[in-house]
């Protein structure tokens, strides 16, 4: 009995084995077939997407679709929120003026490169946007910029300040003052104001943009003959800085230079003041947020940063922008991110108007590239031949919880 049973089982096994392999073969074929089908469909969709805008070219009545990739949730959400507010305000004004109509499509990148890539793909292929504003972080731009460039969609960073962004391609722009222009202004101003001889440097070493800022700080210090007595690193989202700062405190620097986002910068400042470091702190663009003051409180006093945006400027356009922004957003004073986003949408609007299209990406790109003498809330603005912004910065210092001009 047992023998027979065994043989039956064996047989079954064999049969099953054959069946399974056959099935696998079938499934494989099916899957390949389906994948090819799906691929064909998507490429067909892409082709349709690519040609459709060309077909109804110059349809002026339609709103121009502009995609936005912003850091809307997570540790740097204040950046994304400010950008969204600036853009919404500009959109309402532009649509009310009626020369061009703009529709904004928001996507959240959560400060992550992969999310930024997904967002760019969605905006380009699914939403069929004519241009993109964002992403928020330079690291995200390094990931998403090449995708937009390859698809021939203009993409403009409003806060991407690391070196080498427009070099990503002909379709990549930025109206953010790059760190290599802004940071040296802040560092040199601090050196001359406080007669700095030896300084400590800190930066976030897992953030492309912060590392780029650090390199700029380092080269500026070297050029000015200031000694760097300590270089300490941390990572984005770190919370404990006591070890680095205790070490820095024992070396007694004349100033500390920090390249990081606002959250880390605020915690560094807080801890530094707590353990008795009272010297000035010079920061990169991350210091440019009211959130820094909100989180660090009185510890933020003495922080120095170069900013293209200064709300205290006695300029009619600037003051009107601040008044409108305050009226729309609960008496909130716009920060640099809101101001640059606001200007970016106006840049798009004037380029759209000049190009006379709401769908032709190539024409829009050419129109943006030729922008000169644009007057925005962040001052006079132009793109140079490398699509880098030409603009001036003001060096600011935080005093009693307010950004004031460092003189």
């Amino acid at each position: 009995m047992t023998n027979i049973n065994l043989s039956i089982i064996k047989h079954k096994h064999n049969k099953d084995g054959v069946f399974v392999t056959m099935k696998k073969g079938f499934i494989k074929k099916w899957v390949t077939g389906l994948t090819i089908g799906a691929l064909l469909l998507t490429t067909a969709g892409c082709g349709g997407g690519g040609t459709a805008p060309a077909a109804n070219n110059d349809s002026k009545g339609e709103a121009a679709k502009i995609g936005v990739i912003a850091y809307l949730t997570g540790g740097g959400a204040a950046y994304g929120t400010a950008i969204k507010e600036g853009l919404d305000l500009a959109k309402d004004e532009i649509n009310a003026q009626g020369k061009v109509q703009i529709e904004l499509i928001y996507t959240d990148s959560r400060g992550e490169k992969t999310e930024a890539i997904n967002a760019a793909n969605k905006l380009i292929n699914k939403d069929n946007v004519v241009g993109i504003i964002g992403p928020t972080l330079s690291g995200e731009m390094f990931a998403a910029g090449p995708i937009a460039n390859q698809a021939g969609v203009p993409i403009m960073g409003t806060s991407t300040t690391a070196e080498g962004i427009p070099a990503l391609g002909d379709f990549v722009f930025r109206n953010a003052l790059p760190e290599f222009l802004a940071v040296p202004q802040a560092v040199e101003k601090a050196i001359s104001t406080y007669d700095l001889k030896k300084v400590a440097v800190m930066y976030s070493n897992n953030n492309d943009w912060a590392v780029s800022g650090y390199k700029t700080i380092e080269s500026t210090l070297k050029k000015n003959g200031v000694e760097i007595i300590a270089t300490e690193t941390f990572a984005d989202k770190d919370t404990d800085y006591s070890a680095q700062l205790t070490k820095i405190a024992s070396l007694k620097p004349d100033a500390v230079m920090v390249s990081s986002l606002y959250q880390e910068a605020a915690l560094v400042l807080k801890k530094a003041r707590e353990i008795g470091i009272t010297v000035p702190f010079v920061g990169t663009n991350g210091f440019n947020s009211p959130e820094l003051i909100k989180i660090a409180g009185p510890a933020a006093d003495g922080a120095i940063v170069a900013s293209p945006w200064f709300p205290g400027k006695a300029d009619e356009k600037v003051q009107k922008f601040i008044a409108d922004y305050k009226a729309k957003y609960n008496n909130k004073v716009p920060d640099q991110f809101a101001a640059q986003a606001y200007d970016a949408l106006y840049l798009y609007a004037s380029a759209l108007e000049q190009a006379g299209t709401t769908t032709d990406r190539q024409k829009l790109r050419d129109a943006i590239a030729t922008i000169k003498d644009f007057q925005g809330v962040t001052g006079k603005f132009a793109f140079d031949e490398n699509r880098e912004p030409v603009m001036n910065a003001t060096v600011l210092i935080i005093k009693d919880g307010q950004f004031t001009e460092l003189k």
Binding site: E232, T239, D240, A243, T246, K247, L267
Partner: protein, 292 residues
């Protein structure tokens, strides 16, 4: 600078220990890794923060509030996500995956309830400083050190000397035998999860106090450190969790102080790998049986 850095390391390390204690308790009794512990810790931090900011209560009241909320949350997790899986003969990985689910749920909930911004405790507490010889220590650091060491010793004593503690240890040894001995193991498991989560809540408030950054994603990084300490100390060993946390904290701080800050985590975790090479069962883990 040495003594100051030692204090920094101890403060950091004791927060790791506190987080690891929660993992250890659940690991010891239920033999699972509770991936939601970091998020329960985060919720505890937020409850403490809101109690201090909006109800202006004393920090110890806030800690108690955080502890109760986290403990209740732990019980809820046990009822909804763990107990149903224990009744059926499911894979060992099932409870692990379901706690990951709880973790993601809690993080999303916190993002919606509290917003993505990092928030801070009022600064008055951090501002109180003392100079003891070469060391400058803040009131917050003293509270953290005191609370963590206090809690660890109370926990150890309670587990080894009291009746309930003995019941927990028996359950940890073998659930079936404990059942046969007349211990209500369901009740004991409930108690353990509540205790572990409550400790997590307190740790949340303490970490929030010392680092001044309470945000919905804080649970992940702290949770990872806690897990590392759990393994370093020996799975389910309380002394191991205590000392493991301190070792990790001091290793991290000293790497920054006397080495390069870029290698902070690399050195700390490299050291853990090295220790595990020599003692694969962890610092205090036994090769067989006998937990706590």
């Amino acid at each position: 600078m040495f003594w100051q850095q030692l204090v920094n390391g101890l403060t950091l390390g004791s927060t790791y220990s506190l987080v690891a204690l929660g993992y250890t308790l659940i690991m010891g009794v239920l033999n699972i890794i509770n991936m939601a512990h970091g998020e329960i810790f985060m919720i505890g931090a937020f409850v403490g923060l809101y109690l201090v900011t909006y109800f202006e209560v004393n920090i110890f009241v806030a800690m108690a509030g955080a502890m109760v909320t986290s403990a209740l949350l732990g019980c809820l997790m046990e009822t909804v996500a763990l107990r149903p899986l224990r009744r059926k003969a499911v894979s060992h990985l099932a409870p692990l995956i379901s706690t990951i689910g709880v973790a993601i749920f809690l993080e999303s909930l916190a993002l919606n309830l509290f917003g993505p911004q990092s928030q801070a405790f009022p600064t008055e507490l951090a501002a109180v400083q003392m100079q003891l010889g070469p060391i400058r220590i803040s009131l917050v650091q003293i509270i953290i050190l005191g609370m963590s060491f206090g809690l660890m010793f109370v926990l150890r004593f309670w587990l080894s000397k009291t009746r309930v503690g003995k019941a927990i240890r028996t359950t940890a040894e073998n659930i079936e035998t404990a059942n046969l001995l007349g211990i209500n193991t369901n009740k004991i498991i409930f108690l353990t999860v509540a205790l572990a989560s409550g400790l997590g809540g307190i740790a949340g408030v303490l970490v929030g106090l010392s680092f001044n950054a309470v945000e919905p994603t804080m649970g992940l990084s702290m949770g990872l450190k806690g897990l590392a300490v759990l393994i370093l100390g020996g799975m389910g060993n309380i002394t191991g969790a205590m000392l493991g946390g301190l070792i990790l904290g001091i290793a991290e701080v000293f790497t920054v102080a006397y080495g390069a800050s870029s290698y902070r985590d690399a050195v700390a975790f490299g050291m853990i790998i090295l220790i595990l090479f020599i003692r694969p069962q962890g610092l205090f883990g036994k090769r067989q049986g006998g937990r706590f």
